[in-house]
Point group: C3
Chain length 366, copies 3
C-alpha cells in the first residue's frame, strides 16, 4: 500500500515546472525523493524556510533545496546541486512530497467478506474491504474507501473519496463529507453527554441524543477522536478543518471551516468556533462558548468565556499571550518580591521609630 | 434506527398529564416535537429555566414552554400557545424529549454472521448483531444489544438491557451492569498500568493484572474511554454514574454511584471517589487518593491529595473555588504590585535620606 | 482465560527459592495467592516496603510478608506465619504474583473465521483468532497473538510473542517488537498531523505521511493510545518503554528505552525523549523538543523547551520541582502580600507627611 509515483525520478527542471518554482543550478539533476534538511542525501530534495538555521543549510547533503529568494545567498549550488525558488518553501515541499508519495489507490468494489446490509447504496466506484460493515439505508459515494472493522450505521452517508481507516465508527444518520479522512478508531455520532438530575429516584435521567453529526468536506480527524451527535439538530465540523488524535468534540458544537484542533483538545457541548481557529494540544473549552474567527489558543489553555477578538491566547483561564507572558514574568519575580516586602516592613518600622524618637527629642528640646 | 413515537403528536394536555405538569393555555394544542428556546418553531415544545434569559423567552417561536411557576409572569400565552408549569423545567423537558424520541428497539436474536463461541450464554431476548463476538463462557442478558465489531471476552457478563455500541471491548471476566450504555470504542478491562523496575535486567517487570472491572447498573461510558482491570480484585464504577468520552480510569479505582466524569478526565490507580462526585473536563487525579461524597472538581483541575470536604474545587493543585478566585484576582494584581514595591523602595530610600539629613542637621544644630 | 498456575499452592520455602529470598519462620507454610497488605487473608502472601505504614503491617491478616531486612523488626512471625526477606519487596511481590498468575497461553493456529490475506506470513506457532485481519505481505511471528477485530495492515510486522488485544489497528508497514503488548483500541501508524496552509485555495494542504512506526521489544501500550506514523522516516518507541491509556505520540517522535508515559500524555511531532524518561499523567510536550535521559516530568506539566538536565520537573511551563514548590508557596502568600503592600503605602505616606511637617516646623523654628 506504499504508493510511489511511477513517474519518479523527476529532473529538477520538471519539478520546477510542476511546482511553479524558478530553477537555479542544474535543471537536468535527477531527484528521486524528498527529505528533511538534516536527513536528506544525494538525489534528494529538501526545503529551507528559516534563516535562523542557515548553518544547517550549509551542511545539508541534499542535492536540491526549495527556498525563498532571500535565502538564495546562503546556498552554494556547486556541481550536481540546485535550488528551487518559491514564495512558500514549506508548501512547495509538501507539494513535492505529494508528487513522490501520491495517495494510495484502492481497487473499487465490495469485498465478498464485507457486510453490506440490504438497502445500503454503495457506489460501484467505492471500495468496501473485507470485514467492513455498511448498515441499511447507508450511502457510500464513489471513490470512498471503507477499511476492515469500520462501521457505517443505518442511514449514514460517506461522501465521494472519503477514507475511513480501520476501526472507525460512524453511527446512524451521521454524514462524512467528500474527501474527508478518518484515522483509525474515530468515533462519530456517539451520544452527547446530557443528563438531567432526578432527585426523586435519584438518577441522572438520560436526555435523548436525537441529533446527528455532519463532517464537512476535506476534513481530517485523528486516531481515536470522538465527535458526539447533537442532542437535537447537528454537531458540525466545517470544511477543511483538521483535527488531531484523541480530540473530544461535544454535542451541538460547531467548528468553523479551516480550523485546527491539535491532539487531546476537548470542546464541551454547544460551543461554537469560528473560521481558522487554532487550538493547541490539550486545550479545553467550556460549554456554550463562542470563539471568534482567527483566535489562536495556545497549548494547555482553558477557555471559560467567549473569545471575541482574533489573536493569540494562553493560560487557564486564558488571557492574551502578551498578558500571559507579563504574568509569568511577574510570577517568577514573586518570591523575591515577598522578600522585598519584608525588607520594606523592617525599614519602615525603623523609620517610624527614628522619626518618633526625633519628634520626641524635638518635643523634649522645646 | 431513528425512533419516533407512533403516539406523537401529543396534545399539550396529554403532555401535562404524562409529565405531571400544570397546563396553562390551550390544552388542545398539538405538539409534534421539542427544541431549544431559540431553535423551536410552531408546533414545538421548549423549556425555560433561567430568568436571566427572559428576553429569549419573549421571542421564542415555540408553541409551548415548560417553565417554573415564578417564570409564568414572563410568558405571554396568546392564541395557539401554552405553558406547562413544573418544579424542574430541565428534567421535565428531558422527559418530554424522551416521549418524542423513545429509545430504539432492536429485534432480538443472534445474527447468523455474529460469532458466539461455544459455552457462551446469550439470552433469547438479547440482540447480537452481525460481526459481534461473544467469547466462551460469556453471558449476555435479555434485552442487551451487542453491535458489530464489539468484543465480549471469555467469561464476561453483559447485564439485561445493556447496550454495547460498535467497537467496544469488554475483556475477559469483566461485567457490565443492567441498562448500562457503552458508546463506540470503549475499552473495559485493559491491563492496569503496573510495573516494578528491575535494575538487574534492566526492565520494567510487568505486574500481573489479574483482577477485573465491574460496571454497575445504569452507567454510561463515552466513546473511546478506557477503564482498566484491577491488579488484584476489582475496578468498580458505581450505579448511575455517567462518564464522558476519552476518560481514563486506572486499575483498582472505585467510583461511587451517581458521579459524573466529564470528557478527558484521568484517574490514576487505586483512587476512590465517593457518591455524587463531579469531575469537570480534563481533570486529573493522582493515585491512592480519596475524594469524598459531593466533591465537585472544576475543569482542568489537578487533585494531588485527599478531598475530605464536599464543595467546589479548582486549580492544580486544587484549592476551594473561593480560594482559587482569590488567588486569580491576586495574580492579576501582581504586575502592578511589583511596581508598587519599586515605588515604595524609592519612597522609603528617600525618607531614609531625608530623615538622616534632618537628624544630621539637628545634630549639627546642637 | 484466567491463568492460574497448576503448580500452586507453593510452600513459603519454595517461594523463597524461586524469588531468591531468605525465608524467616515456617518454610512449610502453604501459600495459595498474593494480595495487598490490607486485603490479604490467611494463606496469602503480601509485601511491605514503606516503614511509614508499619501499623498496617502489624494488622495484616496475611500468612506471609515480603519485606526488607530492616523491616523484620516490625514483623511478629507467630505461629503459622512467615516472612521473605529481600532487597526490593515490590519487585519480589511482582515476581511472586507472576508465579500465581502466569501469562495466559493461547492455542496456536489461525482460526478459520480469521481473515489472512494471500501473501501474509503467519508463523505456525502464532495465534490468529476469529475475526482478526492480517493484510497482504504482513508477517506475524511465533507466539504472537492477534485478537478479534484487530487489524494488521499490509506489510506490517508483529514480532514473536507480541499480544494485540481486540480492536487494535497496526497500519501498513508498521512494526511491533517481540513481546510487546498492545491493549484494546491502540492505533499504530495513523497519519501524522502535518499540513501546509495554502492561502490560494484556501486549504490546509495534506503533507504525505509516508513514514512508519517502529515499536521496540517489551513495550506495552495502553488502551486507545495513538502513535502516529512519521512524515518521512520512523516514529520510534524504544525497548522496554511502557505507555498508559489514551496517550498521543505525534509523527517522527522518538521515545528512548525504559521510559514511562502515564495516562493521557501528549507528545507533539518530532520531539525526542531519552532513556528512562518519566512523564506523569496528562503531561504535554511541544514539538521539536529534546528531553534528556532521566528527566521526570510531573503530572499535568507542560514542556515548551528542551530539558537538558535529569531530575524532577513540574508546572506549565515546567520548572524544577523545587522551584515549583517555591513558586506555589509564594503564590499562596500573594493575597496577604498585596495587603501588606497597601499597609506599607499607608505607613510610608504617613511617614512622608510627618517628616514633611517636622521639617516645616524646623524651618518655621529657624
Amino acid at each position: 500500500m506504499k504508493a510511489t509515483n511511477p513517474a519518479a525520478p523527476f529532473t529538477l527542471g520538471q519539478l520546477a515546472e510542476l511546482l511553479g518554482a524558478r530553477c537555479v543550478g542544474e535543471a537536468a539533476l535527477s531527484i528521486d525523493g524528498v527529505n528533511g534538511l538534516d536527513e536528506a542525501g544525494p538525489g534528494e530534495l529538501t526545503f529551507f524556510s528559516n534563516l535562523h538555521y542557515r548553518d544547517r543549510l550549509a551542511t545539508t547533503k541534499a542535492s536540491a533545496v526549495i527556498l525563498k529568494e532571500e535565502a538564495l545567498g546562503c546556498f552554494v549550488p556547486g556541481e550536481g546541486r540546485g535550488a528551487l525558488v518559491v514564495d512558500d518553501p514549506y508548501l512547495a515541499f509538501a507539494r513535492a512530497s505529494a508528487l513522490f508519495h501520491p495517495a494510495p489507490v484502492f481497487a473499487p468494489g465490495i469485498d465478498p467478506r464485507a457486510i453490506v446490509e440490504p438497502g445500503a447504496e454503495v457506489d460501484e466506484a467505492a471500495t468496501v474491504m473485507a470485514c467492513a460493515y455498511v448498515g441499511a439505508g447507508a450511502r457510500v459515494g464513489p471513490g470512498a474507501v471503507i477499511f476492515p472493522f469500520t462501521f457505517v450505521g443505518e442511514g449514514a452517508r460517506v461522501g465521494p473519496g472519503a477514507i475511513l481507516y480501520p476501526g472507525v465508527v460512524v453511527r446512524e444518520r451521521c454524514a462524512i463529507g467528500a474527501g474527508s479522512i478518518l484515522q483509525p478508531g474515530v468515533a462519530i455520532g456517539g451520544d452527547g453527554f446530557g443528563f438531567a438530575f432526578d432527585k426523586s429516584v435519584p438518577c441522572h435521567f438520560k436526555i435523548p441524543q436525537a441529533g446527528v453529526v455532519e463532517i464537512g468536506r476535506d476534513v481530517e480527524i485523528g486516531a481515536n477522536s470522538a465527535i458526539d451527535r447533537a442532542t437535537l439538530g447537528v454537531t458540525r465540523i466545517g470544511d477543511g478543518t483538521k483535527i488531531d488524535n484523541l480530540v473530544q468534540v461535544g454535542h451541538n458544537v460547531a467548528v468553523g471551516p479551516l480550523s485546527i484542533l491539535c491532539g487531546q483538545v476537548g470542546i464541551a457541548g454547544s460551543s461554537t468556533l469560528g473560521k481558522g481557529v487554532v487550538c493547541g494540544g490539550q486545550v479545553g473549552l467550556g460549554n456554550h462558548l463562542k470563539v471568534c474567527d482567527g483566535a489562536r489558543i495556545g497549548p494547555k489553555a482553558g477557555v471559560m468565556a467567549d473569545v471575541t477578538e482574533p489573536g493569540d491566547y494562553l493560560g487557564a483561564p486564558i488571557v492574551s499571550s502578551r498578558e500571559f507572558m507579563r504574568q509569568q514574568a511577574a510570577q517568577r519575580r514573586l518570591p523575591d518580591a515577598l522578600k522585598a516586602i519584608q525588607r520594606l516592613e523592617r525599614r519602615v518600622a525603623e523609620l517610624e521609630k527614628r522619626l518618633e524618637a526625633s519628634l520626641e527629642k524635638d518635643k523634649g528640646g522645646d
